[in-house]
């Protein structure tokens, strides 16, 4: 027997750089917000799951200690860029399985500045220059340009779109519009990717209170239809699993596709029924690749979907109305739940950059591991 799961409240600490605040401070702010919105008091939830990649030992416990809310199981979850979504999956599972009525899910992060140093790489890979994460994004971008007719102008257009959409987001790090010429004038980090085509690792926190459907007392419920995490299947040399080798076969399904297909099936919706999407735009090409991997268009159709204006707010399937990671920055453990905060507001109809009439929403992350998540929400 599975129980339906509602989102009873959301909270966020804006994404950016905060020299005067610890990662625990950020988490406390987000958790307070979500609990207040859900009307949940100390003792009002039976488990907590905290996503973080760089937080260190017992990160979630430190947040809840500050709030006088310990005693229940607190599980810290690392799944790269999908860490927050992995925490959401576990929280939803605890309710669906009948163990809990109410669960707190949150994500916190304070990323080191600059290019991400990841313990994923072995020391010899760092010595050999193989730990240059943006270069792998660039290789994927170059392949997409060859297979899907994507040009550098398309990459710049994604940045222009998302930065424009982030202007109204009070939680975003960058809130100024940019034009394509300026994007293309920023320095080349790894051809074809320029600096402004890459999101900034940063700091932030987001929190979500889940309840068994009908159990919550907060604002009108948004239903969590599915929360799926998948890893890679081997074979694709440019997979987010960052292998040193792969196969010449082209038919290895991407982890994002595995997650999306499972999330659509569990939710009972197809990509054609989505009204709004928040997807992983770690770099501009990653957003376009996500269109294809999530089934928002046919393989090879991402440039056309962008050109058509479909994925801008006002189009038929707005993607990243929050401004995406390109505007918000990416605090790994918090970013997936930041998407949920945005989409819950979209489904309630009170988002700053509202997609009119949004009823069904998809959130997507993908990153190191490989880890990919797909979450379907509806009102």
């Amino acid at each position: 027997m599975t129980e339906a799961v509602d989102v009873a409240g959301v909270g966020i600490h804006r994404f950016g750089r905060f020299e005067d605040r610890t990662v625990t401070d950020l988490g406390v702010a987000a958790v307070r917000g979500a609990l207040a919105e859900a009307g949940v008091a100390p003792g009002g939830f039976q488990a907590a799951f905290c996503g973080t990649a760089y937080g260190g030992v017992a990160s979630g416990h430190k947040v809840l200690t500050r709030l006088g809310m310990t005693g229940m199981p607190i599980v810290d979850v690392e799944a790269g860029c999908a860490s927050g979504a992995a925490a959401l999956m576990l929280g939803a599972g605890a309710i669906r399985g009948g163990a809990c009525d109410t669960v707190l899910v949150f994500g916190i992060e304070k990323m080191p500045k600059g290019m991400i140093r990841s313990s994923f790489f072995e020391p010899w890979q760092e010595d050999a220059g193989l730990s240059a994460t943006p270069a792998y994004f660039a290789l994927r971008a170059q392949r997409l340009m060859r297979t899907s007719g994507v040009t550098k102008d398309h990459l710049a257009a994604v940045v222009v779109k998302n930065r424009r959409q982030g202007v109204t987001n009070p939680h975003a790090m960058f809130r100024a519009e940019v034009d394509a010429a300026a994007v293309l004038a920023s320095r080349v980090v790894a051809e074809p990717l320029h600096l402004w085509m890459l999101c900034s690792p940063n700091e932030g926190a987001a929190a979500v209170v889940l309840t068994r459907a009908g159990h919550g007392t907060g604002p009108p419920g948004v239903r969590l239809r599915s929360a799926v995490v998948r890893s890679h299947v081997p074979g694709a040399v440019l997979s987010e699993s960052t292998p040193m080798s792969g196969l010449v076969d082209e038919d290895t399904p991407a982890p994002s596709t595995l997650a999306a297909v499972a999330a659509y099936e569990e939710a009972g919706v197809g990509p054609g029924e989505l009204d709004v999407v928040e997807c992983q735009d770690t770099d501009a090409a990653r957003e376009l690749l996500s269109y294809e991997e999530l089934g928002l268009c046919e393989p090879g159709g991402s440039a056309a979907l962008l050109d058509e204006g479909a994925t801008a707010v006002g189009g038929r399937l707005p993607v990243n109305p929050s401004g995406g990671l390109l505007s918000k920055g990416e605090p790994l453990g918090a970013s997936a739940l930041g998407q949920i905060v945005e989409l819950v507001h979209q489904l309630r109809g009170d988002a700053p950059n509202q997609v009119p009439g949004a009823r069904v929403a998809l959130a997507h992350t993908v990153g190191r591991g490989a880890n990919a998540s797909a979450v379907v929400l509806s009102r």
Binding site: D127, L130, A135, L139, Q142, R187, P234
Partner: protein
Amino acid sequence: MSSAGVPVRAGLFSEGPPPRLLGSRCAACGRHCFPRADTCPYCAGDATEPVELSPGGALWAWTAVTTAPPGYRGTVPYGLGVVELPEGLRVVSRLTEADPARLQPGQAMALVTVPLHADDEGRDVVGFAFAPAPGP
């Protein structure tokens, strides 16, 4: 490169000439993998045999790294790319060519060894890279 160089990690490549990457082949499914693995990543078979991979292949994807990544002690820029080997394998590798405009898809590439940085005793730490193959 100094002949007194030390490999960045043992077991990655043989020095040749020509140098070759050291991979493995699964006795069960026949797929190749690099670096060597005791268990096949594709079929989980435990019977793999060590092989020396082909010394040349075709360029499949490439870029250049312009900022030193964390932990890297060598110089920038340098090339990074993927080369297809005749064994049906695509390998991620450093490239000797750091100007992406000078490379073409499908271009013939050959494995070489390159100095990465000097260690505490002044010896070259040596890695592998693919270089545009000399003409026929």
